[in-house]
């Protein structure tokens, strides 16, 4: 069983970069003063694909006379930063959601409004949504 995850939002990445875990205890990385992820790290890319989702594929299959549907796959470029600590250790940071075309930008003024509408419509919290196992447990034991 995988160890518990500690997800953190993208906006906290700059602070979280300075920590790593050694034997499940938090230690600080030796990055030096004024460490900048964009300036000090090499940008790398990895191509994955985002294909027609199963629901869309199902609709297309129903519509087509032959029973097969055309599946389209669009390339999705994941971005990585390769950084080096002062003691020579190398670590990677996935910056797909932090920079480039898929970056997340905070919408000014609407963040407060958005969270209230999400809870009003019965949406789950992002941390709970991230954990599929937690959702599975909530099916049996209701959250108080």
């Amino acid at each position: 069983m995988a160890p518990p995850e500690h997800p953190f939002p993208v906006s906290a990445l700059d602070q979280r970069l300075h920590y790593r875990t050694v034997e499940f205890k938090e230690k600080s990385r030796k990055l030096g003063g004024g460490f900048d992820l964009q300036r000090d790290c090499e940008l790398l890319e990895l191509v994955q694909y985002s294909c027609t989702t199963p629901e869309q594929q199902y609709q297309r299959t129903l519509a087509s006379p032959t029973g097969t549907a055309r599946m389209e796959c669009f390339p999705f470029v994941r971005l990585f930063r390769k950084c080096q600590e002062k003691n020579g250790k190398v670590f990677h940071v996935e910056t797909t959601a932090w920079e480039g075309e898929h970056a997340w930008k905070p919408s000014a003024g609407t963040t407060n409004n958005d969270t209230t509408t999400a809870t009003a419509t019965g949406g789950i919290e992002p941390t709970a949504e991230a954990n599929a196992f937690a959702n599975y447990g909530n099916y049996f034991w209701a959250r108080k």
Binding site: M1, A2, P3, E5, H6, P7, F8, P9, V10, S11, L13, R16, R20, T21, V22, E23, E42, L43, L44, E45, L46, V47, Q48, Y49, S50, C51, T52, T53, P54, Q56, Q57, Y58, T61, G67, T68, A69, R70, M71, E72, C73, F74, P75, F76, R78, L79, F80, F91, H92, V93, E94, T96, A97, H102, W104, S107, P126, T127, A130, A132, F133
Partner: protein, 232 residues
């Protein structure tokens, strides 16, 4: 010809050695020892050097065919030795007993990766034209939707974060969390149909960015029967 034969012919032995006595028992021992030697040698190669496996499933779709294909994988990388980001690895499937899974490494221990919900078609909720925009047209009230802030996780020690290439058809670390390195069986070297078309994974898959607008690969289209679309 006759000259060669004369050169390599054994010299006539004046008193030839008697033929060895071969009883049925010694014959059985001889055959048995040969089989054990062949089996041990192949097991040594298959556990420590190189082996192949048949694989199927749409989770790596444009890179690896969704139908039946064969993967040659290096056992020298078992238990995560010398694995890098971008490598295609084979590991014991954490959700199906005695099954193998073939996915791409996204994060090594200590790295930071984007944490997506299982089988999400995008990374970090980024809009993908043609995939997520179709949904927006269906329900009009979603058009002004604000994108939720993506979350990241740090990959724990001794684990790797894996993801299939076909993001919406893959059950990977987004579903069962980081994969222990002890489950890694090897690194894929070649994948092919078993005959003459093979793709190599031996070059580094994580490449420097090619500059603005330089998308590495174009979009892929293909016919796929519906039964092939169960996530793998």
């Amino acid at each position: 010809m006759s000259l060669l034969r004369r050169l390599f012919r054994a010299a006539p032995n004046p008193n030839p050695a008697p033929r060895p006595v071969r009883t049925p028992v010694s014959f059985a021992i001889h055959v048995g020892a040969t089989f054990i030697a062949i089996y041990s040698l192949s097991a040594l190669i298959a556990h420590n050097w190189i082996w192949y496996t048949a694989n199927a499933g749409p989770s790596m779709y444009p890179t690896i065919a969704s139908g039946l294909s064969y993967t040659i994988y290096s056992r020298r990388h078992k238990r995560g030795r010398n694995i890098q980001i971008g490598d295609v690895i084979l590991f014991e499937n954490p959700i199906f007993l005695r099954g193998k899974a073939c996915k791409r490494v996204i994060g090594m221990p200590g790295d930071y990766v984007v944490r997506d919900p299982s089988q999400s078609p995008t990374v970090g909720g980024a809009p993908v034209p043609g995939i997520t925009e179709v949904d927006d047209n269906d329900n009009d009230n979603d058009n002004g939707r604000v994108r939720e802030e993506p979350t990241l996780v740090q990959v724990p020690e001794g684990h790797v974060w894996v993801a299939g290439d076909s993001l919406s058809y893959s059950r990977d670390s987004r579903f069962y969390g980081p994969v222990p390195m002890a489950l890694i069986a090897g690194k894929a070297l070649y994948n092919g149909d078993g005959w003459f078309s093979w793709t190599s994974f031996r070059t580094p898959q994580l490449t420097p960015v090619r500059g603005p607008g330089g998308i590495a690969k174009g979009r892929v289209k293909g016919d796929l029967p519906l039964e092939d679309t169960t996530p793998g």
